[in-house]
């Protein structure tokens, strides 16, 4: 079995839906990190079947809105001295700014570079969002 040693001080992002680990890894710019990071893909999970895990041997700022958009069931464990000292609970964000982009080619955000990309939650169960400008509906975790 593949062994990845535990970290001393840092963050473990667990229960990432299979396939999203790589996206998240790049979104958090961990490919450019000068500290130790590990991306585990297709780890066994009783709850999810397969899951991805990211271990970061450093303390960094996390965009919890983005993580909540992907899946509010993602868990974030803060590690100190090799032990979990805090678990962060994610929620599906009500409003997101400049996290996702509107894909409607008729939307003003496609031409107005000053305009923020702002979305509001429409349906928490589907995790669908509506663009504040053109009303186009997107489901970010499926894009």
């Amino acid at each position: 079995m593949l062994q990845i040693t535990s970290i001393e001080k840092g963050i473990v992002i667990d229960h990432i839906p299979g396939g999203f680990g790589m996206k998240l890894f790049h979104y958090l710019k961990l490919d450019k990190a000068d500290y130790t990071v590990a991306l585990i893909i297709n780890a066994f999970s009783q709850k999810m079947g397969r899951k991805d895990i990211i271990k970061i041997n450093n303390v960094i700022d996390l965009d919890v809105n983005f993580l909540g958009l992907i899946n509010p069931d993602i868990t974030i464990n803060i590690i100190e001295n090799g032990a979990i000292v805090k678990k962060l609970q994610l929620t599906v964000p009500e409003r997101v700014v400049n996290v996702i982009q509107c894909k409607n080619p008729r939307c003003v955000t496609s031409i107005e570079s000053y305009a923020d990309h702002v979305f509001h939650l429409v349906d928490p169960a589907k995790r669908s969002y509506r663009c504040d400008y053109c009303d186009d509906i997107v489901i970010p975790h499926t894009v």
């Binding site: 008729r106 939307c107 031409i111 107005e112 000053y114 009303d135």
Partner: protein
Amino acid sequence: MLKGRHLIDPSDFTREEFRELFDLAHKVVKNPEHFKKSCEGKILATLFYEPSTRTRFSFEAAMLRLGGSIIGFSEPNSSSVSKGESISDTIRTIECYADIAVMRHPKEGAPRVASQWLTSMPLINAGDGGHQHPTQTLTDILTVELLKGNVENRVYGFCGDLKFGRTVHSFIKFLSKYKGIKLILISPEELRVPEYIREEIIKKNNIECIEADKMEPYMGEMDFLYMTRVQRERFFNEEDYIRLRDRFILDKEKMKYAGPETYILHPLPRVNEISIEVDEDPRAQYFQQAKNGMYVRMALILKLLGIY
């Protein structure tokens, strides 16, 4: 209080605020002369990034009939927009010169973006892409009230391009504030109302709604049939436009299915979706509707400037 407010989307005003506006519009209809000096010394800016006949002329006529003046452009090539100026820079410049502004833009949400940069000048959305056209709805509702007395407990048919038809989206959004509304939505499968209208407006407000691809079976029960044009400018593919444009044509034969008081409305311009022979039918109200547009825009300008 509507002074200093923007009208970008029908949800920007409450039902009571709309009532206040329509009460003034009815006074304007009865005696437009009374208001002829109300806007003396005031300037309306018309920013039309997309062609328009009725909306632009009716806004300009409205301001002139109120005694005010007009500045603006009717196509973006005659302004700094052609040099690549952003919407935010243009609108902030216009605020230096005008008391109130009207914007039409091909991009959806452009007037909303513009309104976020303003400090005191009211901005009116005169149509943004295939999204919303709230002042056409004011025109439509004033026409409904003049013909039938009230908006509630009525059957409204909408036919044609319901996907990109911004006048339809605004009209349905407005109607969702009222009781006893039944909608009959007639369109080809490809041009049905957008998901946000179906899910967030129609379903959330429990509005009775039928989606159909034929108008004849439903015309008898309609109080209003709102015809719309399939808009060439909204299609990225010319073949799709040609395939869909002639799908619904209202002619004398089809008018036989309409009730004696089923009024025909159309935001205009029409291409061929209402044949010209229907114009003589007293139930065809689209030209009167265009005239009402000027009156209700007079009322809107007066309210947003805080004059009445």
